[in-house]
Structures are given as C-alpha cells and as structure tokens.
C-alpha cells in the first residue's frame, strides 16, 4: 500500500526537487562562493566573508529599506481598500453579483498586464494622467519622488481582487444574528463594525495581512516593467529586483544573489511563523 502511495507523490516530488528543493539548498552553498569580476575565472570559496560584505553594503540597505517601505505602503492600503469594498458589496442588493465580479476581477489579471495598463496611463506623451493635467517633470516613472508610489498603486490595484475575495469570505462567516444582537443591544453601525465585525474577522485579517506582505516582498514584474534598470536611481530597487540584477545584470554575481535570496527567505519564513502562532491562539473563535 505505502509503495503505491509513494508512487503517487513521486512525480510532484521530482518536479519540486529539481525546481525548488535543489536550487533552494544550492543557495546556501552558492552564498559562500564568490565570482571574481574577471570573466572565465572560477568562483572561489570565501566563507561568510561575502555574506558580511553584502549585508553591510549600502546597496543592500537601500534595497531592504525600499522593500519595507514598499510593503508598508502596499499592504495596509490594499487590505483596507479590500475590506471597504467587501463591506460595500456584502449586502442583499439586486445585481450585487455584478459589483462582486468587478471588484474581484483583478485576480485574473497578471502583474505584467497591470503594469502595461498603468504604464500607459502614466506615459508622459500618450497617457491618461498627462491628459488630465497631471504631468510632473521628470515624468512619474522617471521621478525618484514618485516612482515607488506609482509602482505601489499598480501593485495595490492588482492585489485588490484577492484582498476583496478574502475579506468577502470573512464577512460572510460573521453570523448575521450576532450582528443583529449588537444592533438591538444598542450598537451603532460603526460600533458594530469595530466591536463585532473586526474582532470576528481578525483571524482572516491576519491571514490576509501575511499573504499580502509575502506577496509584496516578492513583487517583481511591475517593478521590472515600469522602472527597469533605473530602479536604484528611482528607489524602486526591492530585494527581488536586486537578486535579479545580480544574475542577469551587467556584472553577474550568483553568490550575492544567493545571499539576498536567503535574506528574503528568512524574512518570509519569520512572518509565516508569527502568523501560525497567532492563528493558533485564535482558533477558539469557532463556536
């Protein structure tokens, strides 16, 4: 019996081994090797020297700062907008299904498409924003003051669908009669929202927070497409972009990319662990 079971998990195990587990473990080795700046030289073992070098570099510090700043903008706004839309759509109205479809539609768009759409909006020559009279110099996507915000807007818009769906599912799990009890008990709509809906939603809010933060940490496509190689100058050089640059850039440096990948992994892992512990404490909510 167990042989058959192993046969079933073998194909995905193989795929994961080749494309996830091996590269992941290889990272830890690669992080200890340095590629010399001269072509055709073999990489050499440098131990933790390279790790220390990367972690203390201004490039890394700026990138980490950008990543955190980007997440701080994208995550709260995305969640709050998603919750507001979900609250707005969580009522018995005719044709509410149409609104729900519209609000959740960004789930089926890719970041690449979102980036192209917003890139066109913000284009200084043919864009919608310049046509509306919003046309700073230098243009939004070439402007260190505005580029990160512009990229954030794209990310928020693209993530809004998922945020809306998670929040809607959460709202529907809040029992109607508990809200009615609060209504009779004297709670205003605002009080009902803060004292009943939000606490009952908190496990889901926290789940959405972690999912959104991880997804923000891993944002890459829109940054690459909208700001590309100017990222460092435009302060949109998030960790994922720095990793990419260290592999595909003018001076490839796989060792540095590995160190950065491990940092990103540890950040994501610690967030997930925090969530697991927090949710475990909240499981008693179920009645």
């Amino acid at each position: 019996m167990s042989l058959i079971a192993y046969c079933f998990i073998l194909p995905p195990l193989l795929v994961f081994s080749v494309f996830s587990f091996y590269p992941f473990l290889h990272n830890f080795k690669e992080a200890l090797y340095q590629t010399p700046p001269y072509p055709n030289e073999p990489s050499k073992y440098v131990g933790f020297h390279q790790v220390a070098q990367v972690l203390s570099s201004t490039q890394f510090v700026q990138s980490l700062t950008t990543t955190i700043l980007f997440s701080l903008i994208v995550v709260p706004i995305g969640l709050i907008l998603g919750l507001l839309l979900a609250v707005a759509a969580n009522r018995k109205l005719k044709a509410i299904g149409i609104y729900r479809t519209i609000f959740s539609s960004t789930v089926v768009t890719s970041v690449a498409i979102a980036a192209v759409i917003f890139g066109t909006f913000m284009d200084p020559v043919v864009g919608l924003l310049p046509w509306l009279g919003i046309n700073p110099m230098p243009p939004l996507l070439q402007n260190p003051t505005w580029a990160l915000l512009a990229v954030s807007v794209v990310t928020i818009w693209q993530g809004l669908g998922l945020s809306f769906i998670i929040m809607s599912a959460g709202l529907q799990s809040v029992p109607e009669d508990v809200l009615e009890a609060a209504e009779v008990d004297g709670a205003s709509p605002v009080a009902r929202f803060w004292h009943v809906t939000v606490p009952l939603l908190s496990p889901i809010l926290f789940f959405a927070l972690v999912v959104a933060t991880i997804s923000a940490f891993q944002s890459f496509g829109q940054i690459d497409l909208l700001t590309g190689s100017n990222s460092a100058y435009l302060h949109t050089d998030v960790l994922t972009y720095l990793i990419y640059q260290n592999i595909q850039g003018q001076a490839p440096n796989p060792g540095v990319a590995s160190v950065l990948s491990i940092v990103l992994f540890l950040l994501t892992l610690s967030l997930t662990l925090i969530q697991l512990r927090y949710v475990e404490r909240r499981v008693q909510y179920a009645l």
Binding site: A181, E183, V184, D185, P199, Y285
Partner: protein, 362 residues
Amino acid sequence: MATIEFENVSKRFGDSVAVDNLNLTVQDGELLVLLGPSGCGKSTVLRMVAGLDEPDEGLIKINQETVNDVEPRDRDVAMVFQSYALYPHLTVARNLEFPLRRRGVEQAERQKIVSDVAETLQLTPLLERKPAELSGGQRQRVALGRAIVRKPSVFLMDEPLSNLDAALRVETRAQIVALQRRLMTTTMYVTHDQVEAMTMGDRIAVMKAGVLQQLATPKVLYSLPANVFVAGFLGNPPMNLLPGTVGSSTEGSPVIRLTGGELPLPSAYVGLNLPEAVFAGVRPEALTVDPDGSLSAVTTIAEVLGSEVHVITALPDGSHLIVRQDADLPIPERNESIRIRADDPESILLFDALSGERVQAR
C-alpha cells in the same frame, strides 16, 4: 413599563406573506406568547418589534409611540435569540456588559450591574469564560442576562429554549416566568411548543400562515378555541374534530349526527341558526369507553403513557377519535369494537365545517 401595539401590520417577503394585517395589543407587564407552527410569521412579528424587520404596512407602537422609523438601538427593547447570538470573542462578563457599554454606562456602575445579574442567573463562576467554553444551558443564561442587564422596557424572546434538552427546558421555563414576574417587564415570547405557551403565557396569540387566529388566556384558548386550527393545535392529544350534521333524533330531540352515531346537541346551541355541515369538537378527556355509549368505533391502538392511556379509535368513515382515560381502566384490545360516551355533552363545541370558525353559542 410599556405597551406594544400592532395596527394593521403586514409584512411580505417577496411573494409570500409573513404577517397579514395583524392587530394586537400587548399590555404593560404582560407575558404574551406568540404560538404557531414554523413559518407562521411569529418570529417576524418579534423582529418587527425589535426593528430588525420593517413592516410593509401598518404601525407598530411601543408605549403609544410609533416606532416604525426608530432604529433598533433606540427602541429600548432587548432580545434573546434562538441561537443565543452571543459575542464569541468576548468573555461572559464582557457579553453581559456589551449593552451597557454601548449606552455609555460608567465602569463602576457596569461592574455592579453585571455582578448582580450574574448572581441572579448563577453565572458568577463563569464570568471570565468565552461562550465556546459554556454548555447550552449556560449560554442560554448568558443570553438572558444580556437582555435583562440594562432593564429594557420590552423583552423579546425568540424560541429561547428550543436548543435545550427536555429537562433543562422545563426548569428554565419556570426561571424565565419567575424573572418576568419579578421584573414586570412587558414580554413577547415566541414558541412553537404549546406546553411552553400554556405554562408561560398570561395570554397566547395563536398564529397560522401570517394570520392571528385567536388571542386569549391559556384557559379560554383551551376551552373555547376560536376555530378548528386552534382546537387541533392545542392539547396533547388535541381536540377531536368529528365531521357531522345537525338534526333530530328518532325521539325528536336535537342531535349532532356523526358517522359512528349521535351526540346530543348542547343546549347552548338549541334554537340557533346552525350551519348544515359542522365539526363536533370534543376533548379526548371528555370521552369515556362505555358499552352504553352513543358512538361506535373500532380501536386502532392504545398508547399507554403510565398515568393515562390514549385510546385511538376509528369511526366508520375512517376518521380518528381519541379517548384519553386513566391507566387503571380496562384497555380495549386492538381492532375491538367499542362504544364511546361523551361525559359532559354540554361541553361539546360546534365548528362551521366550511369556514372552520367556532359557532357562537348562546
């Protein structure tokens, strides 16, 4: 201190009529039970008083004041839900405190009230627990506590006992009545359980398909049901309703002719203009198995309940007739042909077979 009035109140959900032209007044300090089968609109009536549903037509008044456009939180009513609807994220103490907090009662005052209510309902040792850690009966008491904590002018209870087991239900029933008598708060209590209604209500409003059938004290409801629905809904077993016609016996005295024989027409009906087709209503406890009885029937089954026996019989046309007798009397065999006598012919009620209404006696 409050009265509740319904003036021509109707409520529809889509095409179905939940409440149809309801006129009803609940007296100050009264415990009024709304009784009916599920889907009869009784919960909707309660929810309209709470303000959770809006009437499509008519006025609802609390203390002579029309509340149709008043928000639930401004109506000064408290409601106990069938599911209890406790706040799952709050402790018992915080659940009890919730209505007080929303009304901005001072903390010291809040604590005093909560500990008093907890004492009354034996919740003191449970104050720091969450609802999920309580038994059904304990949750029910918390729900009750949350309703009485702010001394509302009206209590609304929507089948608060239906999720409890039988023994606890009897006990809690008495507690609720005692509590209501002590606080003298006007109360509307919804149930589909006739025993609950009979034991708890000062008056009972029986509803069917959104229409109020009868509003009366339990005693009047039992002895003088307004129509065949009420007659058949109350009592266990319910009143026998036997199809028949009014005529004269061979001796010339007025009788009710049934398929299995005749019953004398009560003197209160003699000389009245009676409908042709009637139902004769006789309570099972007013019938006795007696070889000299005027009705003949065949025993279908005898249900022995310990102190009493329900003898279920069939009349020649197949309609059921139930006799309730003491357990020490001889029990008829299955398929035995027996005769049945009405103990007190004057207690027989007549219902118009067409309209189902009880025929008014003199």
